[in-house]
């Protein structure tokens, strides 16, 4: 049965959690204020009430302990979902995810699986300042044994969350905080496989690969620029969908990655590097990334609005690059900053 309805991104997360918890009694949720308070971002509304205090738990402020507890519980047959309120807080718990969870299967000769999910809100745009606004995919990216996904709309939030919970391996779900309030249509029967990118717009002139909150920006920029771009929401950062991206770039001959990550080394570097290595001879123009500048996320609203790639700036770079075949200057280079 397919049911479509309009809901907010955060409600899609609630719905996915609830549907998985109904379907599988081993699914449980814990984290700071996820139970009684129903989540600092209201991403667990109604769950304590429906599933009770054994399966929906508030934790102390102890990210290391509860992330580690998820590892142990997952090994022993549960499917724990834990919430890291802001991605930065993984900085006090990273060990459990990267050095323990991701290696358990390897270190047990294939006997153990760790079907846990770590959810974390991330990204900028809401005035939370430099310690609460980063995207930190790099912390978890190059980790064999760990999967990383990042939804860009309510549908992806729903479908990727379900896929993450159903997955037998540890999965990190990055939730762009600024999207929580966005509405979208969610078809609960629609599945998105982990490792599959979403082609959101078919086009012939250039392939735009994007992720998270940058997907909307990219879409609007493509409209504004009036170019016939193919828009790909990468959706899964690890393992990313080489096939879909390569096929698209084979067709368009051009690649632009639009990302909310520092210019020096975000996830998009890997996409650009890999595509170039593979399709070098067939490219029509320089592949490049549109990123944030190499600065901490500023608090001021004026600055933060400019910090992430804007629709106007992405549109400019789209047009310029198609016209010239070379990499356009960033806005801060144009402004002579840095």
């Amino acid at each position: 049965m397919s049911t479509s309805s309009v809901m907010r991104f955060r409600q899609a997360i609630v719905a996915a959690l609830a549907d998985e918890m109904r379907a599988d009694s081993s699914v449980m949720l814990f984290g700071e204020d996820v139970a009684e308070a129903e989540g600092p971002f209201k991403t667990s509304e109604g769950l304590l009430k429906e599933f009770g205090p054994l399966r929906v738990r508030d934790t102390p402020i102890s990210e290391m302990a509860f992330t580690g507890a998820a590892v142990g519980a997952a090994i022993m047959g549960m499917k724990p979902v834990v919430e890291i309120m802001f991605m930065e807080f993984l900085g006090v718990a990273l060990d459990q995810l990267v050095t323990e969870a991701a290696k358990m299967r390897y270190l047990s000769n294939g006997v153990i699986s760790v079907p846990m999910v770590v959810r974390a809100s991330c990204g900028s745009g809401l005035g939370f300042g430099s310690q609460h606004s980063q995207t930190l995919e790099n912390w978890v990216a190059a980790t064999p044994g760990l999967k990383v996904v990042c939804p860009s709309d309510a549908q992806a939030a729903y479908s990727l969350m379900r896929a993450a919970i159903q997955d037998s391996d540890p999965v990190m779900v990055l939730e762009p905080r600024i999207l929580y309030a966005e509405r979208g249509t969610v078809d609960t029967s629609h599945r998105i496989e982990i490792g599959k990118a979403r082609v959101l717009r078919v086009g012939s002139e250039v392939t735009v690969v994007s992720l998270g909150q940058m997907v909307n920006v990219s879409r609007a920029a493509i409209e504004l620029a009036g170019v016939d771009a193919e828009l790909i929401d990468l959706a899964t950062v690890v393992p990313w969908d080489r096939e879909t991206v390569l096929e698209s770039v084979k067709k368009t001959g051009r690649l632009i990655v639009v990302e909310e990550a520092p210019q020096s080394g975000g996830w998009g570097s890997e996409i650009v590097a890999s595509v170039t290595s593979n399709l070098f001879g067939t490219l029509k123009g320089a592949p490049f990334r549109i990123t944030t500048p190499d600065v901490p996320v500023p608090y001021s609203g004026v600055l933060e609005a400019k910090f992430v790639p804007t629709v106007e700036d992405v549109a400019r770079q789209l047009k310029e690059s198609i016209a010239s075949g070379t990499t356009p200057k960033s806005w801060w280079e144009l402004e002579g900053l840095k």
């Binding site: 102890s62 930065e88 005035g127 300042g129 430099s130 901490p296 400019k306 840095k338």
Partner: protein, 333 residues
């Protein structure tokens, strides 16, 4: 002497000034909510309503050359230490007049001339940093004291445990102040740890510890003074638990509906401003008229501060690119 240092001296030297500073903090925090409504403040902010005595009592017992590492709930401490209301509110509003030029925000207040390190938005993050400041004092042979202020919730995080143990084994001149306002976000303390008298955790490190009445500025001063004396004279660290209460919610959106009935009202009976008023009245240091005057003056002052901050400029794009790296030769002025 700068205005800021004069503001600091006032709370160090004069108990009426301490009372006035508490009023200032109260008035300041109450303005914040209104400013959110108008959209003048974005992001989030964490008020210290009800916890004014801790901020002021602490500032009274420290020298500007001592170091305080506080948290996102830091407006009161910043004001108590002497930062001007303009530099604090300006920062909260993201304006150039702010102590960080508007790039830091409400959770990151700083003034090194007054001994305030950039407040940390990571729970427990400041604890080891304060220990490190104390390590510098110790290694340099200075008699400075470092203070780390953090919440009850922070006492459950790893950095607390590691930081206290390190300070203990190195005998560092640092004071750990656990501001136990009974809540970490929306969770009451009894749901997150079985131990309610958090200062007892110091036993794990054989560190001196005690609780103080965080609603009484004089009790705060007395406790802090004891710990400061120990630290300054080479006696090492102390864990102080200040029993306080958060009169507002955790952060701006929070209505604090999770509080048991009557709890707020019970604590409001011990409102730190009331406690001090009664004391000063009873000792003839203030009159009811003077109190009314102070409050209405302060209200006017803070309204002026709001106006000043509103008139202050937005940071330039260039300021986003500044202060990431240290220019050659410009280290720690």
């Amino acid at each position: 002497m700068s205005i800021q240092l004069k503001r600091r001296e006032a709370v160090q030297n004069d108990e009426v000034a301490r009372y006035e500073r508490m009023i200032e903090i109260r008035e300041f925090e109450e303005q914040i909510n209104g400013l959110f409504a108008t959209g003048a403040i974005r992001g989030t902010t964490h008020l210290c309503l009800g916890q004014e005595a801790l901020a002021v009592g602490l500032a009274a017992e420290l020298r500007p050359s001592d170091i305080v590492m506080a948290t996102y709930r830091g407006h009161g401490i910043a004001l108590a230490l002497g930062l001007s209301p303009e530099s604090v509110l300006g920062e909260i509003m993201g304006k150039t007049i702010g102590c960080c030029g508007g790039v830091g925000g409400s959770m990151h207040l700083c003034d090194m001339d007054l001994g305030l390190l950039p407040t940390s938005a990571i729970v427990g993050g400041g604890i080891p940093i304060a220990a490190g400041a104390a390590l510098a004092f110790q290694t340099q042979g200075k008699d400075g004291v470092a203070v780390s202020v953090f919440g009850d919730g922070a006492s459950n995080i790893g950095a607390f445990h590691e930081g206290l143990n390190l300070a203990a084994i190195w005998n560092l001149p640092v004071i750990f102040i656990c501001d136990n306002n009974i809540y970490g976000e929306y969770s009451r303390i009894n749901t997150t740890t079985p131990l309610l008298d958090l200062h007892e955790r110091a036993e794990s490190y054989k560190m001196p510890h005690f609780a103080i009445d965080g609603m009484d500025v004089k009790a705060v001063q007395k406790g802090v003074a004891e710990a400061v004396n120990r630290a300054r004279s080479g006696g090492g660290p102390t864990l102080i638990e200040a029993k306080t209460y958060r009169f507002a919610g955790h952060s701006r959106a929070d209505q604090a509906l999770y509080r048991p009935e009557g709890e707020l009202e019970m604590w409001q009976k011990r409102d730190p401003i009331k406690v001090t008023e009664e004391d000063l009245l009873s000792r003839g240091l203030l009159t009811a008229d003077r109190i009314a005057q102070i409050k209405s003056d302060m209200s006017t002052t803070i309204e002026g501060v709001v106006a000043t901050c509103q008139a202050s400029g937005e940071p330039t794009l260039a300021s986003m690119f500044q202060n990431i790296w240290t220019p050659k030769g410009a280290i720690n002025k």
